[in-house]
């Protein structure tokens, strides 16, 4: 299988490469963070300009589109903290103002 190198050497090289690549992801993340700062700011400015309150991840219903503006009686219809039947409801929590205070 590994005719040239010893198996333990292969394992060592494999894990070193893995570690290196993992460090590379951290470096990649940091460079991306600084190189995309402008577009992040641009999004933030749009949020300010139009008074946006939510991410446009799930556009299927008003209470998944504007999670934070969902009220007690429209979203999560069966129970204040139960989920609706949209798939995205299975990953979003109900908005915190419904579960806190």
């Amino acid at each position: 299988m590994f005719p040239v190198i010893r198996k333990s050497a292969f394992v060592l090289i494999f894990f070193l490469t893995g570690t290196l690549l993992m460090m590379l992801t951290v470096i990649d993340a940091m460079t991306k963070q600084s190189s995309t700062r402008d577009s992040l700011n641009q999004r933030a400015m749009l949020v300010k300009e139009f008074g946006l309150s939510d991410l446009a991840l799930s556009t299927e219903a008003r209470y998944t589109r504007h999670l934070t503006l969902a009220d007690r009686h429209s979203a999560f219809q069966d129970h204040p903290t139960s989920f609706d039947h949209f798939p995205s409801g299975s990953i979003f929590l109900p908005p915190s103002q419904l579960t806190h205070d």
Partner: protein
């Protein structure tokens, strides 16, 4: 010292040879384990980055959004409410907003329609989000139609909102307030909600309390609540993550149980042979330790790296369908990668530690028994 390292190298040699004997089984095992790590790591990276991003950009949301409730439902808010609020200390501006949703049955898409008054839009012009433009195939200058009761209104696309802001604007339709009132029939003097700017963030709660005292039928939504919501949005214990984790754990428990419930006669004999030819119990445990490390660390590294590529280089395609659900509009966005060291460390620990323990424990008993059985 050098002996120690050499010895570990030999033990790894042996473990590898021994793993490679059952190539199919062990690669299958590695694949499944990698897949579990991949899913968990994808969810972690995706949700953490999204949470970070939301935390940064939603910092610019209005300090307070005031909604009116009628019979417990969100209703239009009359412009007089702005006057009724009166002077509130710390509030620098009060503004009524017009916005709502529009469902286009043809493409089965739900738009968020906003009518901001600061844009220089004529009544026949519209600015649309990039997601809409993509979904219905519109360009600048094309016509965009919206139907109301029995009229159909056409607007010329004046502009398309920057593609790199799709995460917040993909489904936006911006039209003039005048046109919006005509289409929706919202009379003059009524708004969807009112936004307040508050100069000092520490005063926001006070302002909200005063508002509710003055106007009992309103509900203020605070920016800190918005931020809090997005901070906990993909909370760990919830939804898919939960299911994934349970599934992964269950698979793991079954696997560990299977291993612990008894070594095969073959494995026992091998341990006997190793002891008979001069291996100590500790050597055998070390060797098994390496076996656990090789499988679990490989799964961790491969799974994490694949997850990183998935989330940040393929825009998390696997999550798209879940988030999109029944919607036809989905933002195309490149998440800014934010990595949470603690999360990754947790994943590392839960990938490596239980697996290594489950590999070693059953060996323990076999490795401390006398090896004379193999003479028979």
């Amino acid at each position: 010292m050098i002996e120690f390292f050499r010895k570990q190298a030999y033990l790894i040699d042996f473990t590898m040879s021994s793993l490679l004997r059952r190539k199919g089984k062990n690669f299958g095992l590695l694949l499944v384990y990698t897949l579990i790590v991949f899913m968990l790591a994808s969810v972690m990276l995706f949700s953490h980055s999204l949470r970070k991003e939301a935390g940064i950009i939603l910092q610019q949301s209005p300090e307070i959004i005031v909604q009116r409730l009628v019979a417990g439902r969100h209703a239009l808010i009359p412009a007089e409410y702005i006057q009724k609020m009166g002077r509130l200390r710390g509030v620098t501006s009060k503004k009524g907003r017009l916005w709502g949703y529009f469902y286009n049955p043809v493409v089965k898409a739900n738009y968020t329609v906003m009518a901001p008054d600061h844009l220089d839009l004529s009544t026949t012009e519209v600015i649309i989000g990039a997601g809409i433009a993509r979904t219905i195939g519109l360009g600048i200058g094309d016509y965009f139609t919206m139907r109301s009761n029995n009229d159909t209104f056409s607007f010329q696309v004046k502009d398309i909102i920057e593609r790199n802001s799709e995460l917040v604007t993909t489904d936006l339709v911006l039209i003039s307030p005048k046109a919006y009132r005509v289409i929706t029939g919202i009379p003059e003097g009524q708004f969807t909600d009112i936004v307040l700017s508050v100069r000092n963030p520490r005063e926001v709660r006070k302002v909200a309390e005063k508002l509710v005292q003055k106007l009992p039928d309103i509900r203020p939504v605070l920016r800190e609540e918005i931020l809090r919501t997005y901070d906990s949005i993909f909370a760990w214990r919830q939804g898919i993550v939960f299911v994934l984790l349970i599934g992964a754990l269950l698979a793991f428990v079954i696997f560990a149980w299977d291993k612990a419930s008894g070594l095969s006669a073959e494995e026992k004999r091998e341990i006997g042979i190793l002891k008979a030819v001069g291996w100590e119990s500790a050597d055998i445990l070390h060797m098994k330790f390496w076996e656990g490390i090789i499988i679990s660390l490989s799964a961790f590294m491969l799974g994490y790296l694949a997850a990183y590529l998935h989330v940040f280089y393929s825009s998390a395609v696997l999550f798209e369908s879940v988030l999109k659900g029944w919607a036809t509009l989905y933002p195309q966005f490149k998440l800014v990668p934010f990595i949470d060291g603690l999360q990754i460390a947790t994943l590392f620990f839960f990938t490596i530690f239980p697996y290594v323990v489950a590999t070693i424990i059953p060996i323990w008993k076999a490795s401390v028994t006398d090896p004379d059985a193999i003479m028979r």
